[in-house]
């Protein structure tokens, strides 16, 4: 009687599984060592090197077809740091991951998703551990900052979801409110944009870009009079040199032209500063208004276009397309400051409690 073949096969399978487990354990150790080394570099101030190595690891992970061991090293390390140093320590880690994601987007945009997952994982740990209003504000800021990177990478739907989460975590996050408004506007959800901008302006009534966007979105949802009032206030404030005033005047003029109030439209356009007068859209809109009124000189249009061809400054209407800027930059500056405050403590912890395992 021959021995049953099934038992031999099962033995081989068990053997192979055991070998795999051994190999997996070795890979995890190597990944943990690599990740802790990168964290140490970051905490010690070798930021570019740390970002480069982490980005390469994630790109390699994606190229290998999915999650690699380094992804699994992120969660335990982040948990230990939060438990031992406090959740504030995760600011530094989260910023490292955000930078790594941004680098992946620049270098290998198709494989950048591999860097996004662990970045979100760090933030989810942070959110779960955040107890105080200040901690929630920091989590909200980190979510907003990462969402900004995603928007720059044209991952816009997910970016919008992330900033909505940021607003839920901290409803006073102005940058997040602005980002929700901007993204909603791009997706044509003007009512949502209006709600976010109104919430933002309750916190910061003088934010002119938000006022401009609120005016335009009010017009788009049919509240034309409210929108025009806001545009008129922006126009009346006297700062004629910035792009916000120029766009406000152009949009006000556009509505007036649509209403056949051509003379008033021409007056509004005529007040735009010389600096902004070189915008080709202004030259065209002026020519259009003049022609609708039965006048205008073709020569003037040619001259204006020739002058605008010589300029390098971005047109006002292009600036309106930029992703959220001043509020986000302010928020990021604050996060970087907080991260740098935590870096020495993270470095000390890693030296004394999480020594980087030696290579075998």
């Amino acid at each position: 009687m021959s021995p049953p073949r099934t038992s031999t096969t099962a033995g081989l399978v068990l053997c192979l599984l055991a070998l795999g487990t051994v190999a997996d354990a070795a890979a995890r150790r190597e990944a943990r060592r690599e990740y802790l080394e990168i964290l140490s570099l970051w905490a010690q101030g070798s930021r570019d090197l740390a970002v480069e190595r982490l980005a390469e690891a994630f790109i390699g992970s994606e190229a290998a077809g999915g999650t690699m061991a380094i992804d699994r090293a992120v969660r335990p390390a982040a948990r230990r740091l939060a438990r031992n140093l406090g959740t504030g320590a995760l600011v530094s880690v989260a910023l490292l991951h955000e930078e790594a994601y941004a680098r992946c987007v620049r270098e290998q945009p198709r494989r950048a998703a591999g860097a996004l997952r662990p970045a979100l994982e760090v933030l989810s740990i942070f959110e779960a551990e955040a107890k105080t209003a200040d901690e929630r504000a920091v989590v909200s800021a980190l979510l907003t900052s990462l969402a900004g990177r995603m928007a720059e990478a044209h991952v816009e739907r997910s970016s919008l979801e992330l900033v909505r989460s940021a607003v839920r975590v901290d409803p006073t996050n102005r940058a997040a409110l602005f980002a929700v408004a901007s993204s909603s506007e791009r997706f044509g959800d003007h009512a949502a944009a209006v709600r976010s901008l109104q919430a933002l302006l309750r916190l910061d009534p003088d934010h002119r870009e938000s006022r401009l966007r609120l005016a335009l979105n009010l017009i788009r949802i049919g509240k034309e009079d409210e929108g025009l009032d806001e545009l008129r206030r922006l126009v009346a404030e006297g700062d004629r040199s910035d792009w916000i005033a120029a766009v406000a005047r152009q949009e006000l003029a556009r509505v007036l032209i649509d209403r056949d109030e051509i003379a008033r439209a021409r007056d509004v356009l005529a007040e735009i500063s010389d600096r902004r007068r070189r915008d080709p859209s202004l030259a065209v809109q002026t020519a259009f208004a003049e022609e609708r009124a039965g006048g205008g000189e073709v020569e003037d249009l040619f001259t204006s276009l020739s002058l605008s061809a010589a300029r390098t400054e971005a047109p006002s209407r292009t600036l309106y397309l930029r992703p959220p800027n001043d509020l986000l930059e302010e928020l990021r500056r604050d996060l970087v400051r907080r991260g740098q405050e935590w870096s020495p403590r993270v470095d000390r912890f890693l030296r004394h409690h999480e020594p980087v395992p030696s290579r075998r």
């Binding site: 901007s182 791009r186 966007r213 152009q250 859209s281 809109q285 249009l301 276009l305 061809a309 397309l321």
Partner: protein, 466 residues
């Protein structure tokens, strides 16, 4: 043979027989003498006349000397003015009877049925009567406007101001009681103080299976404006000079090698224009990159290298309007050649504004449509749906201008696209006709038909002048 007819022949023979002696014996003239006296004289000559004294009364006189050569005709002439006539009686006698009144035939020479008349109505009647015509009454819509008593029955009637069908009636009353009547309808219209005739010129492209049909003659075209056929008064071919504005979208997808190809093709296009033609280039992205004057050459264009590919935004609508507006000063055939994927991002003008301009302009737009790799997109300026609408309106603008869309799968085909457009322009026909639109009104809807099977006709108004 019927008895009646036999009796007539016998009477005629009798009259001829009795006439001979009277003609031989020429007496005094009849005119002015009493009719009875003349009839008695004829009886004495052998004519058997029978008549009543009630019919031939003593006061009746011969009104005019008869000119007839036969007794029968002479009797007619003597009796007719008194509404009497000879009739054949029993046994060959000639009865003098009262003439029966016969209807008088009336016809309108003018107005003809349905004739267009203004406030003055000319009337001319043709009257056929055996009796003398006493009077003709002219009525318009039942109201008497004129009375005529002698031929020619012709007059003019002033009509009150108004428009519509006027019923013109003529009542003819004969001297013997005969009557005639006729009516006709004339269409009265109101005349404006002045009518402007506008010479309209059309550039007409005729193709079959996408290729120009050349060598067509004037007779093969038909222009219909508001349903009315118009006579072609001028006819020419596509050798008319042209002014071309080449609009190059050099944003985003048109950067790098594509941009070099586009500039080279635009330069080649300019160099192929004739001495009478004028060309310019307007290059743009989210801003104006280059604008050259009309009469630019390939060399002028070479001074404008491709920009660095920094701008992903496109200001298409504004620059298309600018190109059309700059062409307004040109007097030759106006043409826009637009190279773009058709995606506008941040223009201040909506494409509906540009469409308004296309309606004002006489320029023809050719769109070299570069393959669009991001057809669905939204931005802070416009959502996805609005951007789709912008592109549809651009297609409408091209169609309205009488131009066409040349689709490119590959930017390397751009030079041949320019060649195709120039070929299209050189094969155009120029048709002129007078439109009777008043100067304040809008031009009528016109269509051009070509007497060739399967011909595809595109047209664009070329110019308008008094």
């Amino acid at each position: 043979m019927t008895p009646g007819r036999l009796t007539g022949i016998i009477a005629a023979v009798v009259i001829v027989l009795v006439a001979a002696p009277s003609e031989a014996a020429a007496g005094p003239p009849y005119e002015g003498r009493p009719l009875r006296e003349v009839l008695a004289e004829l009886e004495e000559g052998g004519l058997a006349l029978v008549y009543s004294s009630d019919l031939v009364r003593p006061e009746m006189r011969v009104r005019e000397e008869p000119a007839a050569g036969s007794i029968q005709d002479m009797l007619d002439e003597l009796l007719r003015p008194h509404r009497l006539a000879p009739a054949i009686g029993p046994r060959g006698r000639i009865l003098i009877v009262r003439m029966e009144a016969r209807p008088i035939e009336v016809r309108f020479g003018r107005p003809a049925p349905g004739e267009l008349v203004t406030n003055r109505l000319d009337v001319l009647l043709e009257v056929e009567a055996e009796e003398p015509v006493d009077r003709v009454r002219i009525l318009v819509d039942g109201r008497q406007e004129a009375v005529l008593t002698r031929p020619p029955f012709q007059t003019s009637v002033d009509l009150p101001a108004g428009e519509g069908v006027r019923e013109v009636t003529a009542h003819v009353e004969g001297g013997w009681g005969g009557q005639g009547r006729a009516s006709v309808g004339a269409r009265q219209y109101q005349v404006a103080d002045s009518v402007d005739l506008v010479l309209r010129q059309l550039f007409v492209t005729v193709q079959r299976s996408g290729r120009p049909l050349r060598g067509l003659t004037e007779e093969e075209f038909e222009i219909v404006e508001d349903g009315a056929r118009r006579q072609i008064v001028t006819f020419g071919n596509g050798e008319e000079p042209l002014s071309a504005a080449v609009l190059l979208d050099l944003s985003g997808s048109m950067s790098g090698a594509r941009c070099d190809l586009a500039l080279a093709a635009a330069g080649a296009f300019l160099s192929r224009l004739s001495d009478a033609d004028r060309g310019m280039v307007l290059a743009f992205s989210d801003r104006t990159l280059a604008v050259t004057p009309f009469r630019s050459s390939r060399e002028d264009l070479a001074a404008h290298p491709c920009p660095s590919p920094h701008a992903s935004s496109t200001v298409l609508n504004d620059h298309l309007y600018a190109g059309l507006r700059l062409l307004d000063e040109e007097t030759a055939r106006r043409v826009v050649v637009l190279i773009t994927d058709g995606a506008d991002v941040s223009s201040v003008l909506d494409m509906s504004d540009v469409l308004w301009k296309v309606e004002q302009s006489t320029a023809t737009i050719y769109w070299i449509r570069v393959r669009d790799e991001g057809a669905r997109f939204g931005s802070a300026w416009r959502g996805v749906e609005d951007n789709r609408r912008q592109r549809e309106l651009l297609e409408r603008a091209v169609e309205l201008s009488g131009g066409s869309i040349v689709r490119l799968d590959d930017t390397s085909q751009i030079a041949s696209a320019f060649d195709e457009i120039l070929d299209d322009l050189r094969s155009q026909y120029v048709l002129g006709y007078y439109s009777d639109e008043v100067s304040s009104g809008r031009p009528g809807k016109m269509r051009v038909f070509v007497d060739r099977p399967l011909a595809d006709v595109r047209l664009r108004e070329a110019s308008r002048g008094d």
